[in-house]
Symmetry: C2
Subunit: 437 residues, 2 copies
């Protein structure tokens, strides 16, 4: 399937006069790069981009798409000063199959496209993704509204009465859109909405509800700030544990914003976190109080920075399965080495063999927690009633070690970790027996 | 989607005269139960079963399907002595949508149905699953052959010339099959093949290649024995490690065959394996040589029986995600406790602190091996070139412990485990960086 992106307009409502809107940067990527990379995540690799205003700059910026692992063809719209329906019409001779239609300045959750692509279209039907919840950053005055009845768009425009949805600018089209647009242009309306209204009249315009997935139209400078906040909000995960939610995540997001400017990769951050963990382990190994304090602080620092790899990957649309897994495996090694350092340090100082047994149980429980987390989190996400339940995860374990080191209570800390992690693992075995499908 | 199962015929080629073929048992389940449970795995819950010969027995045996978590409606075919096309025709007034058509005495891999259901049908098209490899248990004389050209069935029958596929008796049909059957019956051919030939003539009969997935038509007593062997062969996994392949699996399959008769559940076997592991750990804890020998034997016994839960689940079509996970988590606890028992026993006897460090590393490596196994196995399956690579897994670890205990070399054994498991984990991190998508 191909994606058609409209990037011809001038974006006059943006303050930075003369700037090309699709090329405005947000967290290190231009808006149109964000759209392209988002689309690519749903498996689409062929792009047609309609350009007009400052078209050379856009061509120069994106090239033939090779650097993104995709193919880009450009379609020049000499009538770019006109309304956006004309841009779509310029693509007519290049597209003969169903396609995705997008705006260069609308950012959105890639899940929307994966779901949209699953829809089976009737002949000549098109689909518009609609937002029925009015997300909080929406500029309602400026938004294009739709009236939906029985899953079909009945009307579209800036001011329809009793609208019950917002046009997100994300479409799944059949080539029938071109006929509809021509009919609309003949009637004097050159906008994409005009074409949609024609299809709606013929009962050929489906609505697709995006539910709570995010999208934003970056129409002006204020929207750009909103988009920043929106993308940042997406970084919070509902599987974040309590320490992560309250303490680590707010700090790690600030650090990520700084790190974004350095060009450091997510995998490099995973490695850095791991190295900090090893240093913590070495300080614990020495065992004396001052070293424990430094080790404890390093543990908490590594716990915070551990959030940055994922955050940067998501902000730069660089998330990979390998990256997540690489981070997880290094975290397990760091967990084990930190516990080992605590045990060895305590043993050297106090010669108390109990610490080894307790350390063994703490290591076993910590690992089992990580081992069962994936399945548990899947259930967690499914059952809304569980959202308020506290999740005992790595954030809690490392925080306990931090507190334990500051208070010079290595043995008690490991004992507490051994008890709660093993208890939690067994609890998950039992809970999931009833819940897991 | 509904499934229509043909279970009306007498099955006269089976020796046990008078027995109802769909009710013949194989590893604790009747053939028709196997078909139903296989279909259910692909998500289908509505069944129409055409009965005739001994229809009361079949009704009594299956009931309304509630015990399988499905719905069964019966269609009585008073012409059950006739050919099987008549059975399909009896369903005409009950089915108005695309449906799956199956034989009560054909067993098959549930993956065939999951893939078959993905096919998008053109108007009035039907699909027949074909076997182009002639699997080794095939009774080629008796099989229905097909001629396939460009993915379409061109002819079907017992004796076409130059056939290039075998009819597996697994269909995805639109109601057009009924018209085709009526046309065939009018021309004097009452068999299902007759109807297929009519569709083939109209260019409406697609072929779907099942590749190496298994299926078998249980047409006579010999085929029943073949089916037994075939199902047993399916128990071997291509992720089995070397010890599992050569030693554990052949024994565990024999034990599973015995256990099948006891009614023990897969989860109970997982628990039993775990308890044997705990006993092994306790014997190791005592530490003296004779106890080590018993512990070592128990470890190897638990390693063998660890295969039985999955085998029985698969033979009884009772595999669940929870079951696999429950087994995996208990295995991790058993792994940890066995290593802990070895360490503690060695420490008590020899007072050598090195054993704790080595034990820690062995535990860390063992866990990391299990933690990374899922991702590694996924790649393993994908890359055929890797199939001959040795997989270091639990079978190898427990076998090393078995040998180490018999030879009274606890410290060296743990050291070897620590080295190879950690080496293997790091190797996986590197290998998957290049291979993992």
């Amino acid at each position: 399937m191909k994606a058609l992106i409209l990037a011809a307009g001038q974006g006059t409502r943006q303050k930075n006069n003369g700037a090309t809107k699709p090329l405005i940067h947000l967290f290190g990527l231009s808006l149109i790069e964000r759209v392209i990379l988002t689309v690519k995540r749903s498996g689409i690799k062929e792009f047609q981009i309609v350009v007009g205003y400052n078209h050379e700059k856009i061509r120069e910026h994106l090239g033939n798409g090779l650097k993104f692992g995709i193919e880009i063809d450009y379609i020049f719209n000499d009538e770019w000063k006109g309304d956006n329906g004309l841009s779509v019409l310029k693509a007519r001779s290049f597209i003969h199959e169903p396609f995705i239609l997008l705006m260069a300045d609308h950012l959105f959750d890639d899940k929307i496209l994966s779901e949209l692509r699953e829809i089976t279209l009737e002949k000549d039907e098109c689909v518009l993704c609609v937002d029925r919840n009015r997300h909080k950053y929406l500029d309602i005055e400026d938004a294009t509204k739709v009236i939906i009845e029985n899953g079909m768009i009945k009307d579209i425009g800036k001011q329809p009465n009793h609208y019950n949805g917002i046009d997100t600018g994300i479409f799944l089209c059949t080539p029938s859109i071109f006929d509809a647009l021509e009919e609309s242009v003949c009637n004097g309306n050159e906008s994409l909405s005009g074409g949609i209204r024609v299809l709606a009249k013929h009962g050929k315009m489906k609505a697709f509800d995006i539910y709570d997935k995010y999208w934003i139209d970056i129409d002006n400078d204020n929207a750009l700030k909103n988009a920043e906040s929106l993308l940042i909000e997406q970084l919070k995960k509902n599987t974040d544990g309590p320490i992560s939610k309250i303490f680590n995540r707010p700090i790690s997001i600030r650090i990520s914003k700084l790190l974004l400017k350095t060009g450091i990769t997510p995998n490099q951050i995973s490695l850095l976190t791991f190295i900090i963990g090893i240093f913590a382990s070495l300080f614990f190994y020495v065992g004396e109080y001052l070293y424990l304090v430094v080790g404890g602080i390093l543990v908490q620092v590594s716990s915070i920075i551990d959030g940055c790899d994922g955050e940067i990957a998501r902000l730069k649309l660089e998330e990979t399965k390998y990256g997540g897994w690489f981070d997880a495996v290094l975290d397990r090694y760091a967990d084990a080495l930190i516990i080992f350092g605590m045990v060895l340090g305590h043993w050297t100082l106090h010669n108390d063999i109990t610490i080894w047994t307790i350390g063994f149980m703490a290591l076993m429980g910590s690992f089992l927690n990580s081992y069962t987390a994936g399945k548990y989190d899947a259930m967690f996400r499914k059952n809304i009633k569980d959202v308020n339940r506290i999740r005992i995860g790595r954030d809690v374990r490392l925080f306990l070690i931090f507190i334990g080191a500051l208070s010079n209570q290595i043995l008690i800390t490991l004992a507490i970790i051994a008890i709660i992690t093993n208890f939690e693992s067994i609890r998950r075995l039992i809970v999931l027996k009833h819940e897991y499908v």
